[in-house]
């Protein structure tokens, strides 16, 4: 798609808009995963910026982390040590996997900044669990206030509405792409989504709405070619991997990634006050394997496969990601029982291992094609 509206997304990936918000006197706060209540960070007057990893040679971070943790965290720290995240005032992180939470402390000791906090989260949904989460969020509110933030019911309401609109718009982009009206390659589509994590949300909403309106207005349709697949995992931060999937004969039509569908689905929660709505949204969102049992992820995965028309699932998992790797055999078994084939590939910090990935993908597509 030669869309002039695609360019701002690609530009935003450089984090320039986020840096600009800081140079104009604002503060940006980093976070690692989508269990971080960015709505509160935003409502307190800060710009939430999701920290990225990707592919890089890990040298400085090697002295601070073991090499058997996920590449995402190692590369993220490497980038921070190189000064890439100097514009952040600290890190707030929802308490998900141990590595993410451990890295908050390593980051604090080695990068500096004024706010570092992990938000304890409940594992199940019950009135007591919701009370627990409310207490956790009140603790976060106090931390944000201490860092110069100012959150009120009114500002939280506005932030919930803003993020709700962003999620709804991105879900519309998913549907437009599925219907062929948004003829973006899988790689470009995930670049659009990725920009949503590092762009000030007000700007991102405008960009996403423009892209949606442009796609909705077109009469042309061009559905992705290739064998339809769903990609499953946590972070797929290197869109080139999606490009390889499509070049090898697949068409990525759905995902359950935390850099994708899992963050943008379930736009808003319900409740009488903004905090209740925030809690409701995080309790009802599609869970991450670090927050739930594998069995509870099966219905969502199977439904996504069925709804998208995917003929197979490609698991793209971060090497050493214990929560996802532990769930993998259970999910594969469940998929197999339903006649859904799957393929597994581990991603590393040093590179894509394109030869191996292509061999597996081409074989997979020949088998299921």
């Amino acid at each position: 798609m030669n869309s002039p509206h695609l360019a701002p997304f690609l530009d935003a990936l450089s984090m320039e808009p986020a840096r600009n918000s800081v140079s104009k006197g604002g503060k940006a706060i980093g976070y690692f995963c989508t269990y971080t209540p960015v709505e509160m960070i935003h409502a307190a007057g800060f710009t939430p910026v999701r920290v990225g990893g990707g592919i890089a040679a890990v040298t400085a971070a090697d002295a601070l982390t073991p090499n058997f943790i996920c590449p995402f965290m190692r590369v993220a720290l490497e980038r921070a040590l190189a000064g890439e995240y100097r514009f952040l005032s600290g890190i707030v992180q929802g308490y998900t996997c141990d590595v993410a939470c451990g890295l908050v402390h390593i980051w604090e000791e080695n990068i500096g900044g004024e706010i570092y906090h992990t938000v304890p989260l409940p594992y199940n949904d019950s009135p007591a669990a919701r009370d627990f989460l409310r207490a956790s969020l009140q603790e976060l509110a106090a931390k944000l206030k201490a860092a110069g933030g100012c959150m009120s019911d009114g500002s939280l309401n506005r932030s919930l509405a803003l993020y709700g609109k962003i999620r709804k718009t991105v879900m519309e982009l998913y549907e437009l792409r599925q219907s062929g009206k948004l003829p973006l390659s899988g790689a470009d589509f995930y670049r659009v989504l990725q920009a949503g994590f590092v762009t000030p949300p007000e700007d991102y909403l405008v960009m996403a709405e423009r892209l949606r309106d442009q796609a909705a207005d077109t009469d042309e349709t061009d559905t992705p070619r290739g064998i339809p697949i769903l990609i499953s995992g946590s972070l797929v931060e290197v869109p080139e991997i999606v490009a390889i999937c499509e070049d090898a004969g697949g068409a990525v039509v759905a995902d359950d990634l935390c850099t994708g569908y899992r963050w943008f689905s379930h736009p808003e929660g319900e409740g009488h006050d903004p905090m209740e709505r925030l809690i409701d949204r995080y309790m009802k969102r599609i869970p991450c394997p670090s927050r739930t049992r594998a069995e509870e992820r099966i219905p969502c995965l199977v439904e996504l496969v069925s709804r998208s028309g995917a003929r197979g699932v490609v698991f793209l998992l971060q090497k050493f990601c214990t929560p996802h790797l532990a769930d993998h055999p259970v999910l594969v078994k469940a998929l197999k029982e339903r006649g859904i084939p799957s393929l597994f590939f581990e991603m590393e910090e040093t590179g894509i291992m394109e030869g191996q990935l292509r061999t597996r993908l081409e074989s997979f597509f020949q088998v299921i094609g």
Binding site: E346, M353, Q356, Q366, V367
Partner: protein, 289 residues
Amino acid sequence: MRGDISGRRRESPGCTVEKPGSGATAIEERDEEMYTAGIDVGSITAKAAVFKDGAVLGTKVIFTGYSAGDAGRRVYEELLGELGLDASSVSRIVSTGYGRNSVTFASKAMTEIICHGAGAHFLNPHVRSVIDVGGQDSKVIILNGEGRVSDFAMNDKCAAGTGRFLEVMARALEVDLADFGQLSLVSDEPSRISSICTVFAESEVISLISKGEQRKNIIAGIHDAVASRIAALAKRTGIRPPVMMTGGVARNIGVVKALERKLELPIEVLESAQTNGAIGAAVIAARHG
């Protein structure tokens, strides 16, 4: 017209002639006068096979060296020369292996997973699982009754459980790799190699040497370690008999025997184990006329 499936042999200098199993009946020959070829460019060796009338006429193996593309062309031209064939008589070429896309003159590139499955099915249509262990990859391929690949798994980015691992160990032990298999069979007490990492296992082997452990026992231990790695992959994939082993490492009887013990299954190894991928590629080329 269906080709000759009797597997007639032709004498060719330096070439091996393979007798097909009844799996060849699945191949519909489009032109009985035309030959097809398969070229398998692996990380260590490049293999070629020429196929006609439902039979493999010859195969060739050379070292890959630096350029995968050059190796593919060279092994193909050398095989044609040995068979006294002109390139114009070959109607279709399928390339495979990690260097498959470097063989620019091939009609089509297919993965080695598909080609090893096709080769094994052609040579023995009863085979349901193929364990292919080459220079840098080990793969387990499950075939259905029609010889189609129904599932597969590959090792991750790790040399343990591959031909490269054995090469490193042979160097550390100053033993010719060709002697590895037989030497391990006379071991009465295989050493325990605890590490599954090639680098650390090499250190462990050096430590065993310095302790005065006998070579045959160390080699048997190395084969056990390799077999454990491959067996885990096989069990994860749901291996089922009959099992055939292909790839260069299948020529190592020590690994094959260790693997049989780990899997508690007999493993068939044909003379053509190393060229099975190229044979499969040539068979696929014939199938698609």
